[in-house]
């Protein structure tokens, strides 16, 4: 229950409990782990896991030392599918993940789900599903539940659920998960065909398998999204769908329908479900990164580098949460020209109606031989490492992640995706390019890491502003220090011992005091503003500062996160914070909160070059 934050004595306590970390998961990568703890990916337990009332097993270790995850299947039907068909679908999906040659983890059908009370095989229904999803009483079966009529998921449009049921006591590894599939959506009049449904759950089982995060490569282009850089010559959704959708990454967070006029739609592929029923290279790499075979790193190479922006004042500031993509371009340049066909001849269909993957052709190699990572993985702030790349020449590009890709549809570690001055930029020696054909090829060799492939974010006004000093007191909205024209730079300090007036309400009873309050104005219809908080170089002191951006608030004492006027915050476990957002005209407040310790900081507010 959210506590009132109107009582100042309470707010002190709540401020101390302000433990929010927007980017706590900053070491996650795209297509990487879904769960992280202190920056460490959470994998399936690397031990035999047995327990529950049936003394059943969810993970075994085979003679080769590989994790075998044991799942169990419902005994019921799945909409119009018989139990045998539903089990076949499940086995097919898991076999796609088990058969990744460069990944060591395997998924094995352990037989039917058994009733924890009787030990007998069971048809899981709305009347007994609680036995298997029970809070506090996991059955250790990794149940795959067939909700045949939607009565488990309810009638609110939910396609299915994936969930983790139990972890090791210290949350260091996963020990049981489940999936519920809603068969109502394939029951006539069906929303989805069984084949498309298969694709939807290929994606979902990827979350189960890794558990894997989402990824972004070809999906934004296929979808003709505004955030994507649409290749020259492609002017509509039909063109982008027909070429890029067959190369869609399996864990791209959005499923979408083919537009009217699409050749693929006319050929019997009305949505992307058909194309994600087979695994793309990036999804295979993502699982292989978590569970690599010995040959994985020996036969493939990696590209590593840092994404940064040059601050007003000269320094390079690393940026986490940027998608970096490497496309092989030694067969043909990226992008393919308009008119290129993913399927020069119609794809063949297997017994489940799943189309064959697009045939290898030079023109589309950059769409197929491609992988990604988000900056801020295990390799340092702002750093990425794209692994699993076959030897060859690559074009490396940074990308803005799709704005709606947050929360349950999230990609990477950030609660809010960063808005970039250029939605895509390309690695080039000396200076990063924003022209797709103007780049420096990067060579990948087997078993090697090609390092220092650094990309600078361009388009920001890095002119040197006067370095302002912090006002003696600027605690309230009325006394907020005006930063003046942008770019702005101010040197300040904040400590948990400093007084504060304004509270940020995170919800759930948690809040954080704002020790230092600034304001600035934007005048253009749209201004991309980057707000960076960094510890001052050469100064001592340690602690954890957070950064909050918000509109003038009706309540001068409390700022409520999540409401319409309060668009962003950055609250990592350090004092390196970054907010990058597109703002309309108006006055904006920027708050610095001290979560821990005392830090001398530099706050920079930079806008994009018009």
């Amino acid at each position: 229950m959210r506590k009132s934050l109107s009582n100042r004595s309470a707010t002190r306590i709540l401020a101390a409990a302000a433990l929010i970390v927007a980017a706590a998961a900053w070491r996650v990568e795209a297509g990487g782990p879904l769960f992280v703890l202190n920056g460490v990916p959470i994998l399936w337990a690397n031990r035999v896991v047995t327990g529950g009332p049936l003394n059943s097993t969810t993970v075994t270790i085979d003679a080769q030392g590989r994790r075998n995850v044991i799942y169990h299947v419902d005994q019921g039907t799945l909409g119009p599918l018989s139990n045998a068909q539903a089990v076949h679908f499940t086995e097919r999906i898991f076999s796609e993940f088990s058969n990744i040659e460069t990944s060591s983890i395997k998924f094995i059908n352990g037989g039917p789900i058994r009733d924890p009370d009787t030990g007998l095989p069971v048809d899981v229904k709305a009347t007994n599903v609680g036995k298997f999803l029970s809070f506090g009483h996991p059955t250790f079966q990794n149940p795959i539940v067939f909700d045949t009529d939607g009565s488990i998921t309810g009638g609110g449009g939910v396609l299915g659920f994936f969930g983790a049921l139990s972890f090791e006591p210290d949350f260091s590894a996963l020990t049981e998960s489940f999936v519920v599939l809603n068969g109502a959506v394939i029951t006539p009049p069906a929303l989805l065909s069984p084949t498309s449904f298969l694709g939807v759950f290929q994606h979902e089982f990827g979350h189960f398998a890794g558990p894997l995060d989402h990824e972004q490569i070809n999906g934004n282009i296929a979808l003709f999204r505004g955030e994507a850089v649409i290749p020259a010559g492609f002017t509509n959704f039909v063109q982008t769908f027909d070429l890029f959708a067959p190369f869609l990454e399996t864990t791209y967070p959005f499923f979408f329908r083919a537009p009217s006029g699409s050749v693929l739609r006319a050929s019997g592929f009305p949505d992307t479900g058909y194309f994600i029923a087979t695994l793309d290279m990036d999804t295979k790499n993502a699982l292989s990164n978590l569970y690599p075979t010995g040959a994985y790193r020996a036969t493939t190479g990696s590209i590593e580098g840092q994404v940064f922006f040059t601050s007003s004042g000269g320094g390079k500031i690393p940026v986490n949460g940027i998608n970096v993509v490497a496309r092989r371009i030694d067969r043909a340049p990226y992008p393919p020209p308009l008119g290129t066909q993913a399927f020069p001849t119609p794809p063949t269909l297997d017994a489940d109606g799943v189309p064959s993957v697009p045939p290898a052709q030079a023109a589309t190699d950059s769409l197929a031989t491609v992988s990604s990572a988000v900056t801020g993985l295990d390799f340092g702030a702002g750093t990425y490492r794209i692994q699993g790349l076959p030897p060859g020449q690559y074009e490396v590009m940074l990308q803005q992640i799709l704005g709606p890709a947050t929360g349950g549809s999230g990609i990477g570690p950030l609660s809010f995706q960063l808005v970039l001055p250029f939605r895509e930029e390309y690695f080039r020696e000396e200076v990063t390019s924003n022209i797709v054909s103007d780049f420096t090829p990067v060579t990948v060799r087997a078993g090697r890491v090609t390092a220092n492939i650094n990309l600078e974010i361009n388009g920001l006004d890095t002119g040197e502003p006067e370095r302002a000093k912090e006002d003696p007191s600027h605690l309230t909205l009325a006394t907020a220090q005006d930063l003046g024209p942008l770019p702005a730079r101010v040197a300040g300090s904040a400590s948990v011992e400093d007084p504060f007036h304004l509270i940020v309400d995170f919800g759930g009873g948690a809040g954080e005091g704002i020790q230092d309050l600034y304001k600035f104005q934007t005048t253009r219809p749209v201004t991309i503003v980057w707000m960076s908080l960094e510890p001052q170089k050469g100064k001592s002191g340690a602690g954890d500062l957070d950064l909050f951006l918000f509109r003038p608030t009706a309540n001068p004492d409390v700022v409520k996160l999540g409401s319409a006027g309060n668009p962003r915050f950055s609250a990592t476990g350090t004092s390196h914070e970054l907010i990058a957002v597109a703002l309309g005209p108006g006055t904006w407040f920027l708050g610095v909160g001290a979560f821990d310790g005392a830090v001398d900081y530099e706050l920079r507010v930079i806008q994009n070059i018009q």
Binding site: R2, L19, V179, V200
Partner: protein
């Protein structure tokens, strides 16, 4: 030590995180179908405006197991569809999501908590005013949730320009309310009486509405509450539904 005790019963429920985007309108939602306003209204059996006065994360014995649920209590101001008491409590599967604590297991910045967390569910707090579209209760009337999870929960905010107008916005910033195709949950193409996603006029010209309500389709982002309520009531009326109302003596009910 019993092996079962060596485990932490942390559980997180992620709605399958693949969004069914209406074609050409991405927008999101976590393994949940996209709803336009007409199908949302038809799918819901209760639509009301009210203020949240209580949130109680707890667990209940449901379907043979101890499931994490949250009881939300509202002071109902107006009912647009269905019949509700003046103080109304509904129960939803899962506990409210929250941002991860520092040093806590997380996913996309959200805490992976003990108990079930229904990612993609609407997030609101005590004191918030909302317009909610609730699905027919399931699990023998024990559970419900807003249509399309957070799509059917519109946070109400009063403009700060002094005019006092109230605006409504869901987590999708109201995207697709007039353009998302019928998704098959309760309606299919051709069933629309008020909303026609494929037409140039996405709100039917043949339906009598105020100019303010008709112009909602041209607006982006937060929508004025009054005209939005008028439109919802008109949709409900066009589908033959009786007017919603507050019933009983004001005592709490479900």
């Amino acid at each position: 030590m019993n092996s079962s005790l060596r485990h932490a019963w942390g559980a997180v429920l992620l709605t399958a995180a693949l969004t069914l985007a209406a074609w050409h309108t991405v927008d999101a939602h976590h393994a949940v179908l996209r709803f336009n306003l007409e199908e949302m209204t038809v799918t819901a059996d209760r639509v009301f405006v009210g203020a949240c006065v209580g949130i109680e994360p707890t667990s209940e014995l449901i379907a043979g197991g101890d499931l994490a649920v949250t009881r939300y209590t509202f002071d109902v101001e107006q009912v647009l569809k269905g019949e509700l008491p003046a103080r109304f409590t509904f129960t939803q599967l899962g506990h409210p999501a929250r941002a991860a604590l520092k040093g806590e297991l997380s996913s996309h910045g959200q805490a992976v908590q003990r108990g079930l967390v229904l990612h993609g569910a609407a997030e609101f707090g005590v004191g918030d005013r909302l317009m909610l579209f609730l699905i027919p209760s399931y699990q023998n009337g024990r559970l419900t949730y807003p249509v399309g999870l957070d799509q059917g929960a519109f946070m109400l905010e009063t403009a700060t320009d002094g005019g006092g107008q109230v605006f409504a916005r869901n987590d999708l910033n109201n995207l697709g309310l007039f353009t998302a195709p019928f998704n098959g949950t309760r309606m299919t193409d051709g069933d629309g009486k008020v909303v026609h996603p494929e037409d140039a006029d996405t709100i039917s010209r043949s339906v009598q509405l105020s100019d303010a309500a008709r112009s909602l389709a041209d607006k982006r982002g937060a929508l004025p509450l009054g005209p939005l309520m008028e439109l919802v009531q008109k949709i409900h009326e066009e589908h033959g539904g009786p007017k919603g109302r507050i019933v009983g003596n004001g005592k709490e009910g479900r």
